[in-house]
């Protein structure tokens, strides 16, 4: 995805993705950010569509097959994502549950969106993956490795945080805070 496409998206839009997506969770983020500035990052990370996902994979006749691949909780990567976006030019983050204010800021500054996948829709989303193109950092284990998937009509994904500072989660939080306050006065 290029920056123009990303900037054209607005919170509330529903999209499907065709093309390459790479997975990454806690360990992948930590390793990517621990690379020396002049080190070559793994192919496919620069400008990636980054999917917060630890899939179930199975090897069949020496080829990898995706069994289940729903999103993981993005908030765990809150403290790491802004730097991922600025350093590797991540254009879209797919996950669930949303991310913090500083990530929203980084998305606005660098041109990136947060796409909410349906949590737990692991079989439906695995069916949108046509091919496993490779895996990096396999030593991190099945859930934490960086998998590269070729996807077709991957979704539905809700643009939940856009590149203009809008976030559905912020809108929902202001409503939810009403309930919290009511019972904490």
């Amino acid at each position: 995805m290029d920056e123009r496409t990303v900037r054209a998206l607005k919170a509330g839009d529903v999209v499907f993705i065709d093309g390459t997506i790479v997975t990454g969770r806690d360990e992948m983020h930590m390793r990517a950010l621990s690379l020396k500035k002049d080190a070559r990052p793994p192919n496919g990370l620069k400008g990636a569509t980054l999917y917060h996902c630890g899939p179930i994979m199975q090897r069949e006749n020496s080829k990898w097959k995706v069994i289940a691949a729903g999103p993981t909780t993005s908030a765990r990567m809150n403290s790491l994502e802004a730097e991922m976006i600025s350093r590797y030019g991540i254009r879209a983050v797919i996950g669930k549950g949303g991310m913090s204010g500083d990530v929203l800021e980084a998305m606005k500054e660098h041109g990136c969106v947060y796409l909410a996948a349906i949590g737990g829709a692991a079989v439906s989303l695995a069916e949108c993956i046509n091919e496993v193109k490779g895996v990096e950092w396999e030593d991190l284990g099945m859930a934490e490795a960086m998998w590269k998937f070729e996807a077709e009509r991957f979704g539905p994904l809700t643009v939940a945080m856009d590149a203009h500072g809008s976030s559905i989660y912020n809108d929902v939080a202001s409503k939810v805070n009403g309930t919290l306050k009511k019972y904490h006065s």
Binding site: I56, I67, T73, G119, G120, V123, M142, D171, V176
Partner: protein, 287 residues
């Protein structure tokens, strides 16, 4: 002596397959009911996607969620010798064949020994009785929701209002992280450790069964209404459906204590039970 019809290891594989690939009916009904009353468009699409995925998982015999969790086993009745070894080897086999995601790691080194095994894993709770049969229940629960677990050692003076405040904060501050709509297990009483256990055991009770303890039921109903009117909605994207069920379980506690624990399950509130009778037959169920 209970005759075992097939290797107990294979009974464990079957049990894990059932729990991971088929959502209990009562949870499915709760999702359908929620989809019918939901007024928010994004929320409706989330619920539709969830129900679609449940059907696909059952049809394909694949885990409905990639996070096949940390399975906790409850073994009750007449304990069959060798149960622990069978659960361990069954879990390893299930991890390879179903397959499940190998989730267990050492907490400090983060090394993954594979097979969902390792020090202390899997977690097995025994409650022997004089019955002539054995029941093994498994609850595989993912980390997204387990990470939202909370314990509060409240003061007796905090009372029922203190408990309500605590539960409301725990569920709403968790936001979209535990994959709402959730099932909320609440333990009240016991000691600190027992209270947390109770909150997880509350997740084992079918959502369509009515609590016959009046105090527990009234609290369940009130919290259900408050949480669903909060606006958090499926996946925290807004809507009328934040929880599918609130289940309270109480036990007596110290006169100076009021322990309360919240254990949230994602919408994929998975569980399965096998009853092994004296004649060696194995009956599986999700109620």
């Amino acid at each position: 002596m209970i005759k075992v019809p097939e290797p107990l290891e294979d009974v464990i594989v079957n049990l894990l397959r059932l729990a991971n690939t088929k959502l209990p009916e009562d949870i499915g009904w709760a999702l359908e009911a929620a989809a019918a009353w939901e007024t928010n468009d994004i929320a409706r699409s989330q619920l539709g996607g969830i129900m679609d995925n449940v059907k696909k998982a059952e049809f394909a015999g694949r885990p409905m969620c990639q996070d096949t969790g940390i399975p906790v086993f409850y073994v009750t009745g007449k304990i069959i010798p060798g149960t622990e070894d069978a659960i361990r080897s069954g879990l390893r086999k299930a991890t390879d064949t179903i397959p499940l995601r190998p989730n267990t790691v050492h907490p400090i080194t983060r090394k993954n020994p594979g097979g969902n095994l390792g020090k202390g894993m899997p977690i097995i709770r025994y409650r022997p009785t004089d019955d002539n049969f054995t029941e093994i229940t498994v609850i595989p629960k993912g980390a997204g929701s387990e990470n939202m677990t909370r314990l509060a050692m409240l003061n007796p003076a905090d009372g029922i209002d203190g408990i309500k405040k605590f539960v409301i904060s725990a569920v709403l501050e968790a936001g979209g992280r535990p994959c709402p709509p959730t099932v909320v297990g609440i333990g009240i009483g016991g000691t600190a450790d027992r209270c947390v256990e109770l909150s997880k055991e509350a997740l084992l009770v079918p959502a369509d069964s009515v609590n016959d303890d009046k105090d527990e039921r009234e609290l369940e109903e009130e919290l259900f209404t408050i949480l669903n009117s909060s606006g958090l909605g499926p996946m925290g994207l807004g809507g009328d459906t934040t929880v599918l069920k609130v289940r309270v379980m109480t036990e007596c506690c110290h006169t100076a204590s009021l322990p309360a624990a919240v254990n949230i399950s994602c919408w994929a509130s998975r569980r399965a039970t096998v009853k092994i009778s004296a004649d060696g037959s194995a009956e599986y169920r999700q109620k």
